[in-house]
């Protein structure tokens, strides 16, 4: 009986921690997928935006900064992320959109943009590590395991945000136009859609999603300029695993990666987790080269 209880507890624990990880990955990867879907490029500033948003939120909210409270910090950081997205799109992507090898150019420009943002953050806020307040204090006992209120918020908000993103893309004129541009740029132009404007809107939306992920992360990890580096790598895995060009695939990919990571950390050890993740990644791509829900 004792053995069964231990096993059950282990399962519950891994389920809960897997859910937390998966929800974080949903937040991190969805913006990356939206940009890939719409503009057809990988945005390597995605992780840097997470870090910058966390710093801005800290600056506004923390008593050592402006001390305006967490709510103001979150709102301010989200706006800052959106503006950052617009600027990055304008400077690093829009000028090269008509080039034939825009995909490679965008890798270069966004990678250098990421270095620029990360080092600017280092210059502005210094090397001393910081942390944001948690959105909700205290812990919760769920199914025999302890989970922080902040993590509960992440678990609940991630799917809600995805629902919001889906409704935006499905039911609004702008959202429909963004999907239209992604599917057939020329026909979109012939329909009177300002393609570059839709790119900007998509990019800013993605940047705000990244910013939100950064703010959430900033309360459970320490804020450093490299805060978004590892999440960016995870987000890349999630997006490719789920299937390029599919936001539902990205969400599914996030949960697959999250639960795999939790299980392998518990049963195999944190040291091997990355290796196990890549093993699963390669195995799935061998069977389905275009990802879980990707189209050939």
């Amino acid at each position: 009986m004792a053995l069964l209880d231990t096993l059950l507890l282990a399962l519950k624990t891994t389920f809960v921690s897997g859910l937390v990880l998966a929800s974080l990955y949903v937040l991190m990867a969805s913006g990356l997928a939206l940009v890939w879907n719409t503009l057809g490029i990988f945005n390597f500033t995605h992780g840097a935006i997470m870090a910058a948003a966390a710093y801005v939120a800290w600056q506004i909210s923390d008593p050592k900064g402006y001390g305006l409270g967490l709510a103001a910090g979150i709102v301010g950081a989200l706006i800052a992320s959106g503006v950052m997205g617009l600027v990055i799109n304008r400077l690093l992507i829009a000028p090269f959109l008509n080039q034939k090898n825009v995909v490679l150019i965008a890798v270069m420009t966004t990678l250098s943009g990421a270095f620029f943002i990360e080092n600017s953050a280092l210059l502005i806020w210094g090397p001393r590590i910081k942390q944001l307040e948690k959105v909700v204090d205290g812990n919760l006992r769920v199914a025999g395991t302890v989970i922080s209120g902040h993590e509960v918020v992440i678990i609940v908000i991630a799917p809600l945000l995805m629902l919001g993103l889906w409704a935006f893309l499905k039911f609004t004129w702008t959202g429909r136009a963004i999907r239209a541009v992604a599917q057939n740029r020329e026909f979109a132009e012939l329909s009177g859609i300002d393609v570059r404007r839709m790119y900007a809107v998509a990019f800013a939306t993605a940047a705000m999603l990244a910013g939100f992920a950064g703010i959430m992360l900033g309360a459970i990890r320490f804020i450093t300029p490299g805060l978004g580096a590892e999440p960016l790598l995870k987000a890349l895995i999630v997006v490719i695993l789920g299937g390029l060009g599919s936001i539902p695939g990205t969400i599914l990919g996030a949960y697959v990666v999250g639960f795999s990571e939790a299980l392998s950390t518990y049963y195999i050890g944190a040291y091997w987790t990355q290796a196990v993740l890549f093993l699963i990644f390669i195995a799935i791509l061998l069977i389905r080269p275009s990802g879980l829900l990707g189209k050939d």
Binding site: A180, N184, E186, E189, L190, G192, I193
Partner: protein, 239 residues
């Protein structure tokens, strides 16, 4: 005569360094029912891509309703009312018929009345009403063509350009589409139709342009009958 709708002069354009249009001149007035014929690969589609802003004009000017629209962005030209319905294989494939149509009416002027226009379109093509929730990818060639034409109508065009609306369709479908296009023309929407089949155009147009090797080789106006011998001469070089 009446007002000039479209006035193209000396238009040169192409792909890469290869010119396809070698100086196209064309003037259409409001009372014309224009059609364009010509063999494949002689610049018909390039001509439309250039006047609608998808390709750059290398030389020459395009004026629409008196306004110079040469090399303006496609989305801007379309908002002025020059609407180009491309060949039916270019739709938003992963979207439903209804979403495709709504996007056709994206521009502000059309969006304000999109519900009424949508009803009119469904009246014209009842089959699209049946398939409104189906994704464009799953439609037949004829249905896709209906969607392409309807998207153009949703934009409330002042000049609707239909690029080979019957390409690859069965004779029966072709007749069906011709009747629908005739209704569009009757409703007062000026429509320029591109075709390879002069017979198809004969009932729908009063003015026929013949394009060959990137130029307008013949302009057959109202009153002049379009004899078969003339067309044979144009296509084969023998009377």
């Amino acid at each position: 005569m009446g007002d000039v709708t479209l006035d193209v002069s000396g238009l040169v354009s192409g792909y890469g360094r290869m010119p396809v249009l070698h100086g196209v001149d064309m003037t259409i007035t409001a009372s014309d029912k224009p059609g364009l014929i010509g063999p494949n690969g002689h610049g018909k589609t390039t001509f439309f891509r250039t006047i609608s802003g998808l390709n750059r004009a290398w030389e020459g000017t395009v004026r629409f309703m008196g306004e110079d629209i040469t090399n303006r962005p496609a989305a801007q030209i379309m908002r002025l009312g020059l609407v180009h319905a491309p060949q039916g294989n270019t739709l938003f494939r992963e979207m439903s018929v209804e979403e495709n149509l709504l996007l056709g009416g994206f521009a502000p002027r059309a969006r304000a009345v999109h519900k009424t226009t949508l009803e009119q379109v469904f009246e014209l093509f009842p089959r699209l009403a049946e398939r409104r929730r189906q994704s464009a990818r799953t439609l037949s060639g004829g249905e896709r063509q209906m969607v392409a034409i309807s998207c153009g109508l949703m934009a409330l065009p002042k000049l609707l350009v239909l690029d080979e609306p019957t390409l690859g369709l069965s004779p029966k479908l072709k007749m069906e589409l011709r009747d629908a296009i005739a209704k569009i023309v009757e409703s007062g929407v000026q429509t320029m139709i591109v075709e390879q089949d002069p017979e198809f155009l004969s009932t729908l147009t009063t003015r026929l342009f013949f394009m060959s090797e990137g130029r307008i080789e013949a302009d057959i106006g109202d009153g002049q009958s379009l004899e078969h011998s003339r067309i044979r001469e144009m296509y084969f070089g023998v009377a």
